[in-house]
Amino acid sequence: MESPTASHPPPAGDRRSRILSGLGAGEGRRGVVIAVVSTIVVFALIVLAVVRSPGWDEVKNAFFDGQIFRQSFPEILRVFKVNVRIFCTAEAIVLVAALFLAVLRSLPGPVFFPIRLLAIVYADVFRGIPTILLIYMLGFGAPALGISGVPTSQLFWGVVALVLVYTAYVSEVYRAGIESVHPSQGAAARSLGLSRTQAMRHVVLPQAVRRVIPPLLNDFIGLQKDSALISVLGIVEALRQAQIDSAATFNYTPFVAVALMFLIITIPLTRLTDWLINRDRARRQASGAAA
């Protein structure tokens, strides 16, 4: 196969080539100029349309009040630690539990049918329930049971709900990774005398996991944002703090502050994910060209 992109793959580290990848070959400098001008024009038009709208002054006061921003930002930042703790704890558990679930689901043979069935039911149920509902039901329901030894901390149950939901999603990601490894790999491993478990552990999983790192990071970003849902349980994290400030001032600026805070941590991660995806593609193309 000879295609122009395969014979001249863009260098992986070239930022410009990635950003402007929509440009046709040969447009070169002129293309860059057109892209820049068109970007400026489009954004200028959007900004103008918003700023010149009849309600802009009111919206500006309600959402972009500098004084309220300065007052609420430090406090929101302080309780943002709660979010960080929530999503780091949850992610650590999810990564392990989901892998376990994915392996269970790929167990072969009729003997393991009940286990596969359970894994499928689990994934269906917990991907199907809106996260906020599950948080609500567990957070208010589980402590109400009054079973001794069952934690009454709503933070605990909020994290449990996030783990249940994200384990379902992430196990599907892992499963896709496992299934993307060609069966011949497993067969080759078995022919070398490895047991089924050993083949999974040493041959299939290392390839599978490496392939699904970008989607795993995507789910991690989702989890970071969903940590704000735990606010419905009364836990004062970043979103709830913003709501408190907003209710106290009758102004929405604190929400802008909390949105910024989430962007600050999610954008580097989204960029990293994109970079990994691109690097991966470049590698595959390079190895494809070599072959």
């Binding site: 309600g55 009111e58 919206v59 006061n61 309600a62 959402f63 309220i68 007052q71 609420s72 406090e75 208010f140 402590p143 109400a144 009054g146 009454t152 901390s153 709503q154 419905v232 349980l233 009364g234 836990i235 004062v236 709830r240 703090q241 709501q243 408190i244 400030d245 907003s246 209710a247 106290a248 001032t249 009758f250 102004n251 929405y252």
Partner: protein, 291 residues
């Protein structure tokens, strides 16, 4: 956290009175002309549109479920303190019962920028100078104290002083000054919980995820009398300075506020407010003050 509680005292009445004064700057005669039901600019001309949140909780609203979409209680019945005050104010302003229309306004949207869908709103909204920057507040229609509710037999139920509340896990509904009473006056050792609705707070109290729920005193009496078995009021907080009061909210700059203030002044002078308070909030006398 935006600081404002301390400022509530001295400046409490100034902005609303200033607005009332501005609206009637040319003297009583022209104020009467402005408040003419035919010429007063309203959301729906000839109709006084009043907002509150749904469900409508006692003792602020009564009459049970009566018409859609109201849950728990129905403001159109005239029963409950806020409903009764609203109809009394409307009558003073020259609106008949049939010219009053109620709309559901969730708390967070009561201060949204842009056109309001209500002429006035009664939803236990406490006045604060910071809030008054974004909406109009009328003069007080109820001077409110905050109180702590708990379950009988809990350690917190024997507390006699504000300092004694420190070691306990407290909670409050969002958008209330109850939360600020916790953070500013109790300064508890544990992070307080903040709930979306009164119901969530009540459930958390029942479940034992919080030790005490801080609400305004009339709500406290409703919770102990009707919502939670074996619950009691630990005590109420004495007002600081001029104390805290509920005001009728209107859009910033609305002429309705001046007319509402005129009506409230009359209702206060002729004893109607006191009578309605006795009828609907009568139980509020007997809670001990926390030292």
């Amino acid at each position: 956290m935006v600081k404002r509680a301390a400022a509530i005292g001295a400046v409490a009445l100034i902005p609303s009175l200033a607005i009332a004064g501005a609206a009637g700057a040319a003297g009583g005669q022209s104020q009467a002309a402005i408040c003419d039901t035919a010429s007063l600019p309203l959301v729906q001309s000839g109709t006084l549109t009043i907002g509150t949140d749904n469900p409508a909780f006692p003792p602020w609203f009564g009459g049970g479920e009566h018409s859609k979409p109201w849950k728990f209680n129905d403001p159109t019945t005239g029963k409950g303190y806020e409903s009764a005050v609203a109809y009394a104010v409307a009558r003073q302003m020259g609106f008949t019962r049939n010219q009053v229309k109620w709309v559901v306004v969730p708390f967070a949207t009561s201060f949204a920028p842009g056109k309001k869908k209500f002429d006035m709103l009664l939803n236990q909204v406490s006045f604060s100078p910071q809030r008054a920057k974004n909406v109009n507040f009328s003069a007080s229609y109820y001077d409110v104290n905050q109180a702590v509710v708990t379950l009988k037999g809990k350690r917190i139920s024997n507390v006699k002083s504000i300092a004694g509340l420190k070691p306990f896990k407290l909670g409050a509904p969002i958008g209330t000054t109850s939360f600020e009473v916790i953070t500013k006056r109790v300064k508890p050792d544990q992070q307080p919980a903040v709930f979306d609705t009164l119901n969530d707070g009540v459930n958390a109290l029942r479940n034992g995820t919080i030790d005490g729920l801080v609400v305004d005193l009339p709500t406290g009496f409703f919770v102990t009398a009707a919502q939670v078995k074996n619950s009691k009021i630990v005590g109420q907080f004495a007002p600081v300075g001029a104390g805290e009061h509920f005001g009728v909210v209107s859009a910033k700059g609305s002429q309705v506020t001046g007319c509402v203030n005129r009506a409230l002044a009359k209702l206060r002078a002729n004893g109607t407010l006191r009578r309605l308070e006795r009828t609907w909030l009568g139980a509020g006398a007997g809670a001990p003050f926390l030292k």
